[in-house]
Point group: D2
Chain length 407, copies 4
Amino acid sequence: MPGNILSGTVMESTVTQFPRCWPTPSSLANPHAISEAVSLMTSAKRPLVVVGKGAAYARAEEEVRQLLEKTGLPFLPTPMGKGLVADDHPQCVAPARSRVLLEADVILLLGARLNWMLHFGRPPRFAPDTKFIQVDICAEEFDNSVRGSVSLLGDLKAVCGQLAEALPTNSCSKNSPWWNRIQEKIHSNMAVTKKMAEDTSEPLNYYAVFHHLQQLLPSDCIIVSEGANTMDIGRTILLNKLPRHRLDAGTFGTMGVGLGYAIAAALWVKDNAPGKRVVCVEGDSAFGFSGMELETIYRYNLPIIIIIVNNNGIYGGLSEELYKDIRDGMDTTLATPPTTLLPSAHYERMATIFNDSGHFCSSISHLQQVTSQALTDSSKPTLINVMINPMAQRKAQDFDWLTRSKL
Amino acid sequence: MPGNILSGTVMESTVTQFPRCWPTPSSLANPHAISEAVSLMTSAKRPLVVVGKGAAYARAEEEVRQLLEKTGLPFLPTPMGKGLVADDHPQCVAPARSRVLLEADVILLLGARLNWMLHFGRPPRFAPDTKFIQVDICAEEFDNSVRGSVSLLGDLKAVCGQLAEALPTNSCSKNSPWWNRIQEKIHSNMAVTKKMAEDTSEPLNYYAVFHHLQQLLPSDCIIVSEGANTMDIGRTILLNKLPRHRLDAGTFGTMGVGLGYAIAAALWVKDNAPGKRVVCVEGDSAFGFSGMELETIYRYNLPIIIIIVNNNGIYGGLSEELYKDIRDGMDTTLATPPTTLLPSAHYERMATIFNDSGHFCSSISHLQQVTSQALTDSSKPTLINVMINPMAQRKAQDFDWLTRSKL
Amino acid sequence: MPGNILSGTVMESTVTQFPRCWPTPSSLANPHAISEAVSLMTSAKRPLVVVGKGAAYARAEEEVRQLLEKTGLPFLPTPMGKGLVADDHPQCVAPARSRVLLEADVILLLGARLNWMLHFGRPPRFAPDTKFIQVDICAEEFDNSVRGSVSLLGDLKAVCGQLAEALPTNSCSKNSPWWNRIQEKIHSNMAVTKKMAEDTSEPLNYYAVFHHLQQLLPSDCIIVSEGANTMDIGRTILLNKLPRHRLDAGTFGTMGVGLGYAIAAALWVKDNAPGKRVVCVEGDSAFGFSGMELETIYRYNLPIIIIIVNNNGIYGGLSEELYKDIRDGMDTTLATPPTTLLPSAHYERMATIFNDSGHFCSSISHLQQVTSQALTDSSKPTLINVMINPMAQRKAQDFDWLTRSKL
Amino acid sequence: MPGNILSGTVMESTVTQFPRCWPTPSSLANPHAISEAVSLMTSAKRPLVVVGKGAAYARAEEEVRQLLEKTGLPFLPTPMGKGLVADDHPQCVAPARSRVLLEADVILLLGARLNWMLHFGRPPRFAPDTKFIQVDICAEEFDNSVRGSVSLLGDLKAVCGQLAEALPTNSCSKNSPWWNRIQEKIHSNMAVTKKMAEDTSEPLNYYAVFHHLQQLLPSDCIIVSEGANTMDIGRTILLNKLPRHRLDAGTFGTMGVGLGYAIAAALWVKDNAPGKRVVCVEGDSAFGFSGMELETIYRYNLPIIIIIVNNNGIYGGLSEELYKDIRDGMDTTLATPPTTLLPSAHYERMATIFNDSGHFCSSISHLQQVTSQALTDSSKPTLINVMINPMAQRKAQDFDWLTRSKL
């Protein structure tokens, strides 16, 4: 763009205003396919509903909730499908995610796709004979990775309405063996999580940090999150009650988007939902991609709460000995693996650039205090650096990250 | 591709067979939008239906016919929408095309798009306040060029079924002023055409050639066509009775496709509809793109009837004097404009390469004779070169080719 | 391009004329590198010069000839390097091509590159320890495929001048064992070729056709050629005496270029070298790509001589029995392999389209007669279809086509 | 890249090591063109040499210095050509840059191109009849924008050797009117600059900052720089004594490269020139692109000196009143234009993240003290934030930034 164009002026009256794209017309699924889907769902022994971000984009919250509550079906949200129906809804089976994916015999995908986020719908994460009913707005998305049993093409909101009407009431009773099995797994998983969450010894672990944050955050806040463990574990503990209130690295796992998303959300809140808070939960490595955006946040005085969950960027492979040296402040420059960040970086001090003070928390009580204070005071940004155990990990998982199919 | 791969061999048992893409699920239009469409159609004073090739691809012939016959609406096919409902159906208003496009107040587009083939739906070819109801399978195709009044997203076949059911019987009476006006225009246009068709003086004109061909061609034949005037005029006179029986230069006006399409059609016929004939009507310039494919046609002995309508490739701008020189066999090499082809090229003689004889026709009676003979004998290809008046033109048109919008 | 732009008019005075690109400045090779090259060439036991089309583009004919004649070095032209120095020059060793490439210990590449046309400079076509001295205008072309010993970057014409000056006189004596060995191989190869060339029994073989054409064609004619065997064998027998007088499928082996090249050459001849003839030697399959361009040739009455060397497009794999059926005019449609063309296509009859008669030759005497006549009469195009033995092949080769490196 | 590939292991012995690209052969300019260039240079009344980064890449420092010192020609370095010959060389006429470009009648371009950095070689920045002699390694770079008088294609180092040998001694006498005119302009420009440099009143101006830095920086240090005014003014005052010791935004003006370049330079210094210092001079806006790279700098403890010349990112258009509010610490959030950064950001405090303390300087004496200290202590990084007058500008220029040609 030549400089004289960039800095030129025109008469506003001469500017052609192009209209926005008109709203997309909605379409419905074929009634025969709806019947097939109903028949398959009602004959299922271990049915499951997966709620994807397609349902959120389609603003189908009312229809999906009706469908679930009428039928009693268990459901699992995808990361950005969280909140379409509240995460604490009694039919949400997120705490037993791996188990239900593996054992379900019929899965209804609502705006969710069988890409890597759903392990491509294949063994070992799914049973080889799992039947999929997929609802999607895009015909090309059907039968990818695995052949679906029923394909429902149409507007998610409209099709969920069709399904909600056609599915029989209470088709998946709370007393069924399937629900019993799920509940059992939820309880045992939550017991493990609860134990870790209650372990507030220092250095802190992820579960303790997220559990105590969750107790404080308003249920209507917008949560932005990116990182590896920070995003993955945080997703399981930080609950969403409302649709479209979670922004994260998305289908392609793009890092560096967090602060930009948070700024956009805060500007939207300012005009559309004053008082609603934006909380940005960042891994320290993720924060390193776009941390300089703090200048923008302070310049516009956006009351975003940024919480860096700081494991020193150490992503596996750290010896116990090296960890102790880091903890004890030894010079570990040469010993730290090249894929890690500088141990003990006090990112909260970036706030001092803008004549503010950030917060360094290494205990739960301190984290609780500064978070409460930040939530009370919506007049300015808050930067919190929570130092956790560099050795902290997820609870034991049934499957490795990126488990490969046998296919 | 390395040569050793191209000529290599493998055990057939080791070849992985990938399944074809599964059939696309069909979707329906939103019932509210259907109601709006019905309401708009029934309140129209001068309604029109345009049947596009999208309807042919969707195999919606039964539903479209029901819709039309129940309502009595006039319809217009697009080039490759021809035959979905028979061109000689009493409700087909193709002979009054320009008039109905210009005067219709509500137009229902069935798998037809407002691109250049429909003059972008704008003045001067359409009234500025024309209302469009569009049925399409692709959401991105709505509201292009002009804002539609109702957008019906879904499978053409399914949505036409919805419309056929919802539209009232006989909503467009044959006695209405609109139908009277159309009939009047049809009759006056056909009178002009008839006069030109009956003018069998030599050199021949386009209308005489196509009119007498039409009388001979079986109504179920597959017509392939490309060229400029040859394709445009031929389209109005050569009628299609069956869906998907016309192949031409398509949405992008691609030249050079004719013989390839004809070969594909003939191979399909061989296996699927023995006895059905393929007739390939080519302008001489169009034939020049891919005439060498004749070798393939003769090699596989495909009984295609190729008719070159030869105006010496002269596309406008020829003086009366030069025309006479051409007619009289003078050396016109230096005088012919660079955009024309060699006068009097005897393309029919290409058949002699393959030890066959082609046919050169300069009179209607000879054309009738060789065409009849070719239709009787399906044992081999036929090549007919019909020499017409290099000055031959379309009948007077209300609008220039590629008339530009005032927008 | 919108139609109104294409057919619009402007005042010529308002048209901005952009200058052509200015001539590229020439550069010289580093004198140290020249010394290294000279030292390597003079110490070689079996030196060879390869003259590529880069030398032709650089118009380096005078410098290359001086270099060769001063030193006595044997040389080999690449296909479009042919004629830079006359093919019948006593130092041209083209008839022993495979042998000299394989046995040379030092090869000087003048505007020739080690791509597939030179077998990538690797075994088994070259000795593994061959040393290459490369002269090229493009730095990125050095050390591709194999590491060169000396790289001379610069304008081919200028660098050949440097080399011609620096190389000692008669560095490669005609009495050397290397020259003796080459001469011996040339004689034995030419004896084989001569025998095939003299076998004028019918159906004809390639060698007989090209040999007798070569005797007739003027040494300054422009030869255009494409095809597989037709181009490969023709190249070895049809000699070029002048630089830039051969156009063929080029580095990428592109088929379909022949008639277009011939038209361009004929138009150039018309303005720049009246009387010079353009001879276009086509395989029948190659002719099939762009045979319709004959219309352009006749329209502008360009006196191109087109010779189709017609082996019925049969490219290997034909049984003796099937050959006989073809010869005897049996219906072989179903039996001919799908990669072959129609047996016995009389392409010469295409001339009849334009009220001319082509020539069908199945004997040498007839070929001689029609070729002589065509050369005498430069008032019009000539189309000659020479029917050869569908089983005709190259003489036995030491290496398969596209022999693969062991690397 | 699948995770199992990224984290997989292989036997080192099985890894194929590909060789680096071999060094490019050098080429020389055509001796005739050299003669033309010499003739043109010696007949020039107001000759000028422009030394570009192409000369630096070609490592031509010795040849260029000889050429200049033998002839007495005035020279001007381009930004990354600085230091090829020392900036304080008596023949360097950088302080009179605009004047010499405008008045020179013959300009010798050594690896410099007539792109936007040299105002495309056109009026109003150059006289319309300026003659250009261009030395370049790339033939496509000649005659762009304006037609050159002599084009010398070849290796810069080799061609400068040719020129140095061919040009007569003392061809441009120090007593010539041209040199007198240049000296006069240098003195008047330097007087203005000197006055601004000596104005150490607070808030500081650019010239004072750079002048006093220049007095302290070791002459062999590597200077990395990016920004708008910071880079442009800094370039005129921070001198380079050695070739390839300046890295900046380059031909495409890419921002965000500074810290990455500094890290690379520091790692190179570590292994190749221990003790040499890397100084990174950043505008505050430029620092905002990649400031988070400070983590890498501290992690590897690279003794880079980062100096942020902080005008609050205000790039023109600030009212006197607003400036006073900023200075007085008023809340100016809403008033600052959207293209500016937050006033008074204390970027030096980023050092506290890493348990270091940065330096905030608003006076020359303080800047001198912390710079001296940083230069003494090479054991760690140093971060200095120099607050200057947000209204500070370049000295009055004869031409606007991005002056447009009349062409």
